[in-house]
Amino acid sequence: MFNFAFNSFYEAIYMNGHGIYVWSVLFIVFFSLLVFFTVYRYKIKKIKEKLDELN
């Protein structure tokens, strides 16, 4: 079940010409998640600072 599906690292990147599609989708998904986590973290930090000032 856990056999490496490719013969080499290069083959895993290239994926018979489909690598560009697979890796670009992977990048988009992780980038979107990263952006959202960062934005919410920043927003919460900002509002906490604001509430601290009010206190």
């Binding site: 079940m1 599906a5 018979n16 489909h18 599609y21 697979v22 989708v25 959202f36 601290d52």
Partner: protein, 243 residues
């Protein structure tokens, strides 16, 4: 009894305490499951006989697509809860989920388009499933803009909830579009009622990816709702004490 339970559990203060307690656990567990399943799916599953290696996009596309619809249903349930039982937290959740729903729908659309290039020979087709998902994306944007156009939060919450409930009519249309109309998009490989048409070797990492992605999205919703609670309840004494 339901009303009592909802009101006890859904106090913003209790919710916030629960979030603090469980956030790290959900986040790290989901991240591990997601990364493990993605690595498993992308590198350790055999090549598909028909689609070649491009089918591996499934491990990223399916979880996003599944959640894009599920999040709308979650919004509709929250809207009903808010309108019937007047639970404030439910209203906060509706607007907290909307941008995240838009993000997952965006990922589903983009990943589907990229997957379409090697599989269908085109990145876009005006067919039922793709068009209805685009409509869902526009709906999410519309919901966000409607809420942002009112300065009175209570009014905005009510209007948003009504629109979410009416817009929920799109969800069965999206879900069933591949069965009702002839379309390039394949029918669902995993359903609750039938045996999956996908090989177990490919299925297990997919289930892992769905669970992991779901957990990460739950974390995003928790953060987003925490942000909403701070904005809305900033004048309450408990928030000042909490901060």
């Amino acid at each position: 009894m339901i009303k009592k339970f909802i009101h006890q559990f859904a106090s913003p203060k209790t919710f916030l305490l629960q979030v603090e307690r469980s956030y790290s656990f959900i986040f790290f567990t989901s991240l591990c499951i997601y990364v493990f399943s993605i690595v498993w799916g992308l590198l350790f599953t055999p090549e598909d006989f028909v689609q070649g290696n491009s089918y591996r996009i499934m491990y990223l596309h399916v979880p996003a697509s599944f959640l894009s619809q599920s999040l709308y249903i979650a919004m509709a349930v929250s809207s009903v809860t808010y309108l019937i039982w007047r639970v404030k937290l439910a209203a906060y959740l509706v607007i907290a989920i909307a941008p995240i729903g838009a993000m997952t729908t965006f990922i589903a659309l983009i990943s589907g388009s990229i997957w379409g290039i090697p599989t269908w020979g085109t990145w876009w087709q005006w067919d039922a499933r793709i068009t209805s998902t685009l409509i869902l994306f526009i709906m999410y944007l519309g919901l966000i803009s409607l809420h942002n156009s009112f300065s009175n939060y209570e009014k905005a919450d009510k209007l948003l909830s009504w629109l979410v409930i009416v817009g929920a009519v799109n969800i069965p249309i999206i879900k069933k579009s591949v069965d009702w109309w002839s379309t390039l998009h394949q029918s669902a490989s995993i359903t609750l009622t039938e045996k999956p048409s996908i090989d177990p070797v490919m299925l297990y990492p997919l289930i892992g990816a769905i669970i992991g992605f779901f957990g990460l999205i739950v974390c995003l919703i928790l953060m987003s709702s925490k942000n909403q609670i701070f904005i809305r309840e900033k004048n309450k004494s408990w928030v000042k004490d909490y901060v």
